[in-house]
Amino acid sequence: MSNSNENTSRRDLFRNVALAAVLGGLDVEAAQHVHTTAAAEKATTGAYKAKLLNAHEYQTMQKLADLILPADEHSKGALDAGAVEFIDLLCSQNPELASIYTGGISWMDRAMEKRYGKDFVSASAEQRTALLDLIAYRKNDSPELGPGIVFFDWARKMVVDAFYTSAIGVKDVGYMGNKGASEFKVSQEAIDYVVKRSGL
């Protein structure tokens, strides 16, 4: 989970501390806290080893995460944002969540095998999206697809959470805060733009 954006965040943290120190509101312990935080951030680097999902399940989640939020012209995708690591880590801490994923992956493989004689990973790209086009929508709910729809809902929201809490996702939506400033300024241009559009 380390990349240049998070190094930026660390810089911001230090800058905030510098700012606060100048303003006279910060003590040595607070500064120490920032150092500790930065150290903890560094410790999160390194290759990830799956903790709960087996190799096949992990590979399936990688395919699925990449389909849910792929790389596009704006940003990289869920894989680069650590979505599968996030899901595997939480599953390793919670048997209830783990069974949602192992059960859901197994359900998808069975559904693919029934249709195409192949599991989700081995199937073609078209075959994969054909299944997702069914289970990604509540309107397709049926005794046959119900478990898949429930599972996909879990996978989608957790992949989305992992992506948008990563530095890649933060940049994708364009959140520009968590910086601190000596003054809060509002863009008059933005105000004029929205007021005009609102008709108020």
């Binding site: 801490q93 809490t165 364009g174 509002v186």
Partner: protein, 570 residues
């Protein structure tokens, strides 16, 4: 159990370190009074305990909690980033709710209590709020008037620092204000929509400083007040009142100490406070000349009800039988809307205060023939906030699907939703109170509270009024209400009792000892050296968040107490 009865006699023992306890400690130590402060939780260390400026990605679980607790409605209250503040459930310290009732009790166990995280909304009660019965025949008048409390609002505001502007609105009295920050873009739209509806929408009144004050730095606009502020630029009793008071040499703090009972030794006065030292599960006592209860309205009531002796088998300071009665919480109702006018406005740092920059005070205070008594104020949210676990679940639900279209929908919809939250006045009713559960004790052996809580038609009708007006405000700016456009039932969407965390009224004040527990200085009618400095004394629960009034009342009570000590009257 070993009981340690040694130690010095303190002028005042204060129980609880939130807004009431913190203010009491500050005022009394400034006046040279020796104070022992008992706190049921640990000391606070902002440098270590606050997660200000951290990104979700800096937490192993990104803020979802171990095992994805937040997906299952578990984990720390209000998420993992918030200042250590308290809990909806405390292991080994239960409370019970009577069958057929719903109530949730948020309790804090740390120095500073709920002020470490609270919304910092700082609203004066209006003049008419102190005389509700005289106005509409419901509830009871306070034994004090606005004019008596106003100087203490001045002191509290000047000391803790509150933003605002002079508006001359009767429902929202002006005070001693620091300059508020300008409205955010979506707040400008909300104000314009309100203007059209003739609903006032005015600059925010929050306990956040925009200019340095008493050695505290001005706000640095990171939007994370709820996480606790390392520069103490917002009010918390821990950082703003108690830490400075520790330097006075007049304050002794007993952390991890759970008050159990007030001891009178048959003297008619409290001579000591019995507490459990949580680290050793040993009972100890602190000797005192006077005691100030500031443990939160319900904990203070519990402590009085659990203090029984010959002549007061009903609980201490409770010859009237009102202790635990007249419990209320604020009503809560929220509605959000998607506002297309906000689409494509470009990105900017929208953090600002950790809270709204504008708010809506009650506007129908002089309207006759309303369908419900009293009123509410409106808080607002929106803008470009830090993406967190759960931030885009709404888009996942509404857009569904996957792939590039989902990514586009999230990017294009980000920051275009606004939320309005009503916080209104509940009328005390006979079905809403707390009492000692006759069969359950906590892990320290202290009998626990049992809650009874019912909303009435007054509150349901008020919430319907909120729904209609919030819909008008959202639609007036071209927005689309998310959720039900026309809820079928009047009660749809009203908060569960207790969940707005404005519980008050359980040790109410009044001039008549037969119908109140405390006199107009929050001094017990029955026991002259017992005072209450939290929201327990409040006679009504006006449509203003209680913290500022807790500070003002505690300030006044503390000055009175110091004077009575000096005169030898207590």
């Amino acid at each position: 159990m070993q009981i340690n009865r040694g130690g010095p006699v303190y002028d005042v023992v204060v129980i609880g370190s939130g807004a009431g306890g913190g203010t009491t400690v500050k005022v009394l130590t400034d006046l040279g009074v020796s104070v022992a402060l008992i706190e049921a939780g640990p000391m606070l260390n902002p440098a270590k305990d606050f997660k200000e400026h951290m990104w979700p990605s800096q937490l192993k679980e990104r803020g979802a909690g171990a095992g994805g607790a937040t997906y299952f409605g578990k984990g720390p209250a209000f998420g993992p980033f918030l200042a250590p503040n308290g809990y909806w459930d405390i292991e080994g310290e239960p409370y019970t709710v009577a069958p057929g009732n719903e109530f949730r009790w948020f309790r804090s166990r740390i120095l500073g209590g709920r002020t470490n995280h609270y919304g910092r909304i700082s609203l004066r009660f209006a003049d008419y709020d102190f005389a509700p019965y005289s106005r509409d025949g419901l509830g009871t008048d306070w034994p004090v008037t606005y004019d008596e409390i106003s100087p203490y609002y001045d002191k509290a505001e000047a000391f803790i620092g509150v933003t605002g502007t002079k508006e001359g609105i009767r429902s929202a009295p002006d005070g001693i204000f620091q300059t508020p920050p300008p409205p955010r873009v979506h707040e400008v739209l909300i104000k314009k929509s309100c203007d059209k509806l003739k609903i006032p929408c005015i600059p925010t009144r929050l306990a956040i400083i925009t200019k340095p004050l008493n050695g505290r730095a001005a706000c640095h606009y990171c939007g994370q007040c709820g996480r606790g502020c390392v520069t103490a630029s917002n009010y918390s009793s821990s950082q703003v009142q108690i830490f400075p008071a520790m330097k006075s040499g007049k304050l002794t703090i007993f952390p991890n100490s759970m008050a159990r009972e007030l001891i009178t030794n048959g003297s008619g006065k409290v001579t000591a406070v019995s507490y459990i030292d949580k680290d050793t599960r040993t009972e100890r006592q602190i000797k005192c000349r006077t005691v100030v209860l500031a443990a939160s309205a319900c904990e203070s009531a519990r402590l009085l009800l659990n203090s029984k002796g010959p002549g007061y088998s009903n609980g201490l300071a409770n010859s009237s039988g009102v202790v635990g009665r007249y419990l209320t919480d604020s009503t809560g109702y929220g509605l959000s809307g998607y506002v297309p006018a906000l689409e494509g406005r470009g990105r900017y740092d929208d953090d600002g205060f950790g809270g709204m920059h504008m708010y809506i005070p009650w506007w129908e205070w002089d309207k006759k023939n309303k369908t419900f008594p009293r009123g509410y104020h409106v808080e607002m949210g929106g803008g470009y906030s830090m993406p967190n676990v759960g931030s885009f679940h709404g888009t996942c639900r509404s857009h569904e699907g996957y792939g590039k279209s989902l990514k586009d929908a999230i990017r294009n919809g980000y920051g275009n939703t606004v939320g309005l939250s009503g916080r209104g006045e509940m009328i005390p009713n006979e079905n809403t109170f707390c009492e000692i559960d006759p069969t359950v004790v906590d892990k320290f052996g202290i009998p626990v509270l049992r809650f009874h809580f019912k909303w009435t038609d007054y509150e349901f009708k008020q919430v319907r009024h909120m729904h209609e007006n919030f819909t008008n405000i959202i639609e007036g700016m071209g927005g689309r209400v998310l959720g039900l456009r026309n809820p079928e039932r009047e009660s749809s969407g009203i908060s569960v009792g207790g969940t707005i965390i404005h519980e008050i009224g359980t040790v109410r004040m009044g001039n008549d000892p037969k119908t109140s527990a405390l006199n107009k200085y929050c001094q017990a009618h029955d026991v002259k050296n017992v005072f209450v400095a939290d929201a327990g004394p409040f006679v009504s629960n006006p449509d203003k968040n209680p913290t500022l009034t807790i500070c003002a009342m505690a300030w006044r009570t503390s000055e009175y107490l110091a004077e009575e000590l000096r005169k030898g009257n207590v």
